[in-house]
């Protein structure tokens, strides 16, 4: 890459070069460094949610095995393809901007924006279904139907069996505790506040005797994770749509070209990151087996 020369007079500098940069190349590299740093903060933010997902799934895989069947793999896959296609048109758009192909750039950016709308539309349908079926986080989780197409008897059977055998009331304190592998004599905190936890341990908390489907405890956590992760991702999609719409306005005026494509490039990098997050969300939420 060639270093571009410093302008001799302030009036002769390239049109898009800000005064505090020595050259277009330096300006471009600085911008790119900035956007990569921004992307790392984005990744770290999402990693908090991925971390929560990993801890929950490692401790309670049954919740994920059970609840993911409520999600539609078809809609998730459709959205994956839509987002990958929009990433492709965005990458192509950067190329068009670099080559000064203004009309093509406007067209590609428009396709990208339309894809984002389609993505959000599909997401809206999914959220609406979850809302109507009361598949929501926390206390708002009270579905009337078990998830389709599962053989959950095995799962719940082993679980309730172990609940029966291991429930804290049956555990007798052992004086000999302390040897390796022995149970602690410390009473479990779960039966400390009397009356709170016992009914939960007995499985009475379900309150959904209308269907006998074996359901693991705390399925609402899956929907907490689901809405937090797809929601934060959706907010990023909306943010991306705003900047892409801004780019389209600029591109129509023909401001982008070989010397000035950085805004398209940087928005593109952000948009690819949004795609990257979804690439991981799709198998982790929809394709559990």
């Amino acid at each position: 890459m060639t270093q571009l020369t410093i302008p001799q007079s302030p009036h002769e500098h390239p049109e898009h070069l800000a005064h505090h940069f020595e050259s277009l190349q330096q300006q471009y590299d600085s911008g790119k460094l900035g956007i990569w740093l921004f992307l790392t903060t984005e990744i770290l933010m999402f990693s908090g949610l991925f971390c929560g997902y990993a801890v929950l799934r490692s401790l309670h895989p049954e919740i994920f095995l059970y609840a993911h069947r409520y999600l539609s793999v078809e809609l998730g896959a459709l959205n994956t393809v839509v987002l990958i296609f929009s990433s492709f048109t965005m990458a192509w758009g950067v190329r068009a901007a670099q080559l000064g192909q203004t009309k093509l750039l406007v067209r590609l950016l428009t396709i990208t924006l339309v894809c984002a709308f389609v993505f959000l539309g599909v997401k809206f349908v999914e959220y609406k279904n979850k809302w109507e079926e009361n598949l929501l986080p926390g206390k708002f989780y009270h579905p009337e139907e078990p998830p389709p197409g599962g053989e959950f008897l095995k799962l719940r059977g082993t679980d309730s069996q172990s609940v029966k055998n291991d429930k804290p009331a049956d555990v007798k304190p052992q004086v000999t505790a302390g040897a390796v592998g022995e149970r602690s004599t410390i009473a479990p905190a779960a039966i400390g506040p009397t009356g709170l936890s016992e009914p939960w341990l007995e499985g009475k908390h379900h309150g959904r005797q209308s269907w006998s489907g074996p359901e693991p405890d705390n399925v609402q956590l899956f929907f907490g994770i689901y809405f937090a992760m797809t929601g934060l991702h959706g907010v990023h999609v909306i943010g991306g749509m705003i900047v892409i719409a801004w780019l389209i306005g600029k591109a129509r005026k023909g401001v982008f070209g070989p010397d000035h494509f950085a805004p398209v490039d940087f928005v593109g990098l952000y948009w690819h990151l949004v795609d990257l997050v979804w690439i991981f969300l799709f198998p982790l939420l929809y394709l559990i087996s």
Binding site: H13, W36, V94, N218, L221, L276
Partner: protein
């Protein structure tokens, strides 16, 4: 003052622009095709029961897709190595973050403590609290 080549507006060199690398269209299309194939693959293998391997296979495919997007759509293959260092450094911190959290979340396991920690298998202390 930058002198533009005479043919700038008409025809540009398809691999070089003044500032960054121009990715050829065939490569973008090939990456797009590969991403579609891998998406199909990840849906397909989800229907095969491989036990624990399902999760790792799904993550491996997602990792492959992410690598393609980062290297070619995001230009990191041709970019300055410093940007790649920042990105890889970020991934290192993410793996530390999730890795250490995962080992820590196993501390209350029955075999580790021998008590009745909330994470003990089979006890099922509710995480959400009563309604």
């Amino acid at each position: 003052m930058i002198q533009k080549p005479a043919d700038t507006s008409a025809k540009h060199d398809s691999t070089h622009s003044a500032l960054g690398h121009v990715v050829p269209l065939w490569l973008l299309s090939a990456v797009f095709g590969a991403l579609l194939v891998l998406t199909g693959a990840t849906v397909a293998v989800a229907h095969i029961d491989l036990g624990n391997m399902n999760l790792y296979l799904a993550l491996a495919i997602a990792g492959a897709k992410a690598t393609l997007v980062i290297l070619f759509f995001m230009h990191l293959f041709w970019d300055r190595p410093f940007n790649a260092m920042i990105f890889i450094g970020c991934l290192l911190f993410v793996s530390l973050f999730i890795g250490i959290a995962l080992t820590d979340s196993r501390v209350n396991d029955a075999s580790a403590v021998g008590g009745q920690g909330s994470a003990m298998r089979g006890v099922h202390v509710p995480l959400g609290g009563p309604k």
